[in-house]
Structures are given as C-alpha cells and as structure tokens.
C-alpha cells in the first residue's frame, strides 16, 4: 500500500516535470519573443539586443532552463516581462479566483449530476429518454458560447447580472454582506456556464455506471432476498457505482480546467486561465511557465486525491487487487 502510494506520487512528480520541460521547449520554439512585443516595431536592433541581454534571453536555452528551474525551486518565480509585476503576486491573485470558480462548479455539477444520473438509472424509459437528450445537449454546449448566450439573456435583455470581471466598480465602498453579494452576482454567470456543462457530463457517466452495477449478480441476490427496490438502489447500486464516479472526478479535472480557461476568457474572470491566455499571446515567459506549472500541479494533485478517494471507498483497490 505505502509502496504503491510512493510510486504514484513519484510518477505524478515526473509528469509535472515533463509538462514543465515541454512547455519551456515549446515556448522557446514559438516565433516572436517578449522583447519584440514589449519594445514594439520602433525599437532599434541595439535596444532589442540590450533588453534581451538584460533579461538573459541571449543565453543558450538549456542554460536558461536550468537557471529557471533553480530559481523556481527556490521560490523565485521571476518578474512578468509584460507588466513588470512579480509573478508570484500575479498568480497569488489568480489561483484563488480559479479555485473558487472550478471548486464551486465541481461541487455543484457533481451534486446535481449525481442526482440526475441516479434518477435516470431508476426512472421509466420515457423520463430517462427526455433526461438523456437534455444531458447530451448540456454536455455538447461549448462553454464560451453558452457563456455568451447567458450574458445576452441575463445581462443585456434582463439586465440583472454583470457580465465581466469579479467585482463591481464600487466594491471598495461596500462592506460585509454587500461585498459578498457583489462577488456572488459576478460569479453567477461563469459558474452557471461551467456547472451546466458539468451536470451533463456527470449525469451521463453516473447513469452508465449505475446501469452497469444493476446488471451485477449481487444486485439480483439483494432483490431476490426481498429487499425493497429503494434499499437495493441506495445500499447496493449507488455505493458501487460511486467508485468509477470518484475516479472520473479526478479524470475530469483537466477537462474542467480547460473549460475554465475559455470561460475565464469570456467573462474576464481574473483566474489562472485568463492570465495564461494573455501571457501566451505576449510571450511573457515567466508567467506562462509559472501558470503552467501551477495548473499542471493542481490537475495532477486532483487526480492523485481522486485515486486515494477511490481506494478509500473500495477495499478491493485498497488491498491492491485491482485488475490491470
């Protein structure tokens, strides 16, 4: 058990290291560099090479990589080339905003998705069919488009919810509950966008998992010994269907994070995804590297947690009897 955990953690660290290296290489391969973007077309070649030298960009890529790794490991994440602000401060603002959005939408979409999926697995075929069409459609919605449509309805037509940013212009004047209310009003549309799509995916998966468990012999046994249908579903089907669902929780993190990148871009939500898109455009190397590392770390830590949760729920996995 312990050896297995250690092996998993080491494998995860290797993935993070791989992501970081790959990002570094791809970023340096990409045409254009931050200096050109920063100084603009009017800069003289001498100014450009001076700026490149000052930023250390004229050194060999391998040396830059080693230097960056060393500084990053020591906690020196550098300074944003485009904005001149420390990267740690930039991400220190962005990470909580993303965690707030992704965490809340994960919780809500799992709560609602589990409910809808469980209803589908036990409902009459007609209701199941209606809900199936609904969840397939929700799952197919592109996040950025759903976001735009929600903005159109709730901001422009109904005029009830703000469309951009995380706080209003008057936030600093508000206090306590009013400030919380302002935050929630800004959170509403991006959260609704991510959650609606998440419900579709989760419900589809839960329905499948529950129907699979229902075919197992132990369910027939439980029914045969006279347990009430509700009890069979609650105690026998739902519990066992939970195992693949918890694993999915981990596997769906990268997708959810990817969705958040686009949704943040649409709603100007000040999270890691938006920072990343901006930084890639500006070739802001330190910000891209730090944002990628942090997001890869979050995603992989999430996967690991889901694995542990699955082992905690299922004694077969805990005792290492999982089939390959």
């Amino acid at each position: 058990m312990v050896a297995g955990l250690v092996r998993r953690v080491v494998a995860c660290l290797a993935v993070v290291a791989g992501v970081v290296t790959l990002t570094f290489v791809l970023l340096r391969l990409a045409p254009g560099d931050p200096v050109e973007q920063l100084l603009g077309p009017a800069a003289t070649p001498a100014q450009v090479s001076a700026a490149r030298h000052a930023l250390g960009l004229d050194r060999p890529v391998a040396a830059q990589y080693v230097a960056w790794l060393g500084r990053f490991a020591r906690g020196d994440w550098g300074t944003s080339i485009a904005t001149g602000r420390p990267v740690r401060a930039l991400l220190g603002e962005a990470v909580p905003a993303t965690l707030e959005l992704v965490g809340l939408s994960l919780a809500l979409s799992y709560l609602l998705g589990l409910t809808v999926g469980a209803i589908q697995a036990t409902a009459r075929p007609r209701l199941d069919a209606v809900l199936s069409v609904t969840t397939v459609t929700l799952f197919a919605l592109p996040g950025y488009w759903l976001g735009l449509m929600l903005v159109m309805v709730f901001t422009y037509w109904a005029g009830v919810l703000p469309a951009f940013g995380a706080s209003g212009l008057d936030t600093d004047l508000l206090s306590g509950w009013a400030r919380l209310g302002d935050r929630l009003r800004h959170l509403a549309l991006p959260l609704a966008t991510l959650t609606l799509i998440g419900i579709g995916g989760t419900a589809r998966f839960v329905r499948g998992a529950m129907l699979d468990v229902k075919r197992e012999p132990f369910v027939r046994t439980a029914e045969a010994k006279g347990l009430s249908p509700t009890r069979v579903v609650r105690r026998h089907v739902a519990r066992n269907a939970l195992i693949p669902v918890v694993t999915l929780l981990g596997l769906s993190l990268p997708a959810l994070f990817s969705g958040a990148v686009l949704v943040e871009a649409v709603f100007a939500w000040p999270g890691v995804g938006r920072k990343l898109v901006e930084a890639v455009r500006a070739r802001d190397y330190p910000v891209v590297m730090a944002a990628t590392t942090v997001s890869a770390f979050l995603v992989i830590a999430g996967n690991l947690l889901a694995d542990f949760a699955a082992a905690w729920i299922d004694p077969r996995i805990r005792h290492g009897k999982r089939s390959p």
Partner: protein, 287 residues
C-alpha cells in the same frame, strides 16, 4: 421501448450529420455565392434574419457586421468544421491504434514505455498544450488538424491496448502463431480487426469533440483565420454585437451544438449496439 429509443437516437444523429454534410458539399447550390465576398457594408450590415437587402437578396439568418450573409458563412463554415474534425480524428485514430496495438502485443519494456507515454500525454492539460502549439506557427486549418490529432490519440491507445492484450491470449491468435504466422501478421490481420469495435465508438465521439475544440481555438483567434468562415471565429465575431445582432453569434453556436449532439448520439447508439460492456471507457474522458 429501449430498442426503439436506441434506433431513434441513431436515426436522429445520422439524419443531422447527413444533412450537414450534404449542405456543406453542396454549399454553392444552397447559398448565394462567396462567403468572404466584400459587400456594401453600410447598406447590408446587421440585417436581421428573414430580411431582404437593397439588392433584393434574401438573408434567412441575417447578415454580420461586414454585411456578409450568415447562412452562407455557416454552410461554408461547416466544410471547415467537419473537415477539421474528421481529419483530426483520423490522425488521432492512426496514432492511437499503432501505439495501442504495439503496447498491447509487446510485453516488457516496450509496453511499459508506451503506456507511460500515454499516461503522460493524458495528464497534460490539453488546452494549455493547444494554446502553446497553436501559437507556434501561423494559425491555419492544417495546423489545427495536426494539433488536435496529436493531442487526441491517448484514449484510443488505451482502448486498443486493452482489447489487443485480451485478444492476444485467445486461442485463434495463439493458433495462428503456432501455425508459423509471423507475430506482426498475427497482430495486424488477426487481432486488430477484432479490436476495432470500441475504436469506432471513440471515433464518433471524438469527431464531435474535435469540432468543439476547433471552434474553441478559432474563437480565441488561434485557429482558422478570417475571412475563411469557421464556426468558432463566427461566434467570436458575434461576441461584440450581442446587443444589436445576437443572431451572428447564436446561429453558429446552435449549429455546433446540433452537430456535437448528433455525433454523441451516433456514438452512444453504436456503443450500445456493438459492445455494451465497454461503456465507460470511451465516454466522458475526452478533455
């Protein structure tokens, strides 16, 4: 009832996809002219759906900010979206089948290395990778196809690996080996054809996924570039005019949802029909 429902799903999906394909192929016949042709901007911009402009041209879905007919761009955009989606999935399937087959058939270090590579690629945040790769070269349809293909093969490799591994110890495969057939030939001629069932399903689901991602990249300005019409870039161009011309963004989005739903329904129906046991391996994990 279930069987009927199953058939209806497949029928709906096939009907939608068939009509979109026919419309895309017959684009010059079902629309009026060039999707990127310059128009009289002042006279024809932001006409609402079902209106007729000064030249007497009818616009069933209205016009955008350049006075271009939204219906025409939508139909020509279908060529890009479907083409990119299908070609990207073909690349993914090719890589996934080769990696999965070799990993499933060869034991020892080769399998471990290939499975490690697959898990590694699966753990990469796909959108981050797409952003970086799309920023590498000048954005174009070909680049989007290659990038989506290169980032979408992992689930296929896993499915094929599992199938091949299970089939390799079946009597017919071992029998062929015992008769002196070379291992490579056993793999390609005897095992792989039997392992392709889940791949068909993954392909159908993958096309919908790839179409959605192409639109997302184009929406961010990293995909197909204007004036070539693509559903993603059409949504992006309608973004600024949500108030006065909501149809510019709404129409391509609805088309996108319809096509992705159709792909999913065909995939689901195929899955239930072909292989009910492997349900949750292909589904939902395609980030």
């Amino acid at each position: 009832m279930r069987r009927l429902l199953r058939d209806r799903r497949a029928a709906f999906g096939t009907a939608v996809l068939a009509s979109v394909v026919v419309a895309a192929l017959a684009a010059p016949l079902v629309t009026r002219g060039d999707p990127a042709a310059p128009r009289d901007i002042v006279a024809t911009r932001f006409l609402p759906p079902f209106s007729t402009d000064v030249d007497g041209t009818f616009h069933p879905l209205g016009t955008d900010r350049l006075g271009q007919d939204v219906w025409t761009r939508l139909v020509y955009g279908a060529r890009i979206s479907l083409g990119v989606g299908v070609l990207a999935v073909i690349i993914s399937l090719a890589i996934g089948i080769v990696v999965g087959a070799v990993a499933g058939y060869r034991r020892g270090p080769v399998r471990i290395a290939l499975l490690g590579l697959t898990d590694f690629a699966l753990a990469l945040p796909r959108v981050v990778l797409l952003l970086l790769l799309a920023a590498l070269w000048h954005p174009s349809a070909a680049l989007v196809i290659v990038v989506l293909g290169l980032t979408g093969w992992m689930s296929v490799a896993r499915l094929v690996q599992g199938e091949v591994r299970a089939l390799a110890v079946r009597p017919f495969a071992e029998g062929a080996l015992a008769l002196g057939v070379s291992p490579g030939r056993v793999l390609w001629r005897h095992i792989l054809p039997n392992a392709l069932t889940p791949v068909i399903v993954a392909g159908a689901l993958g096309v919908g996924n790839a179409i959605g991602l192409e639109a997302a990249l184009s929406f961010l300005g990293l995909g197909v570039q204007p004036p070539t019409p693509s559903w993603g870039s059409m949504i992006a161009s309608g973004r600024d005019t949500l108030v006065n011309a909501p149809w510019v963004a709404a129409a391509p989005g609805l088309a996108l949802v319809l096509v992705v739903v159709a792909c999913t329904m065909v995939g689901d129906a195929l899955q239930d029909a072909l292989n009910p046991a492997a349900r949750h391996e292909a589904k939902g994990l395609s980030g």
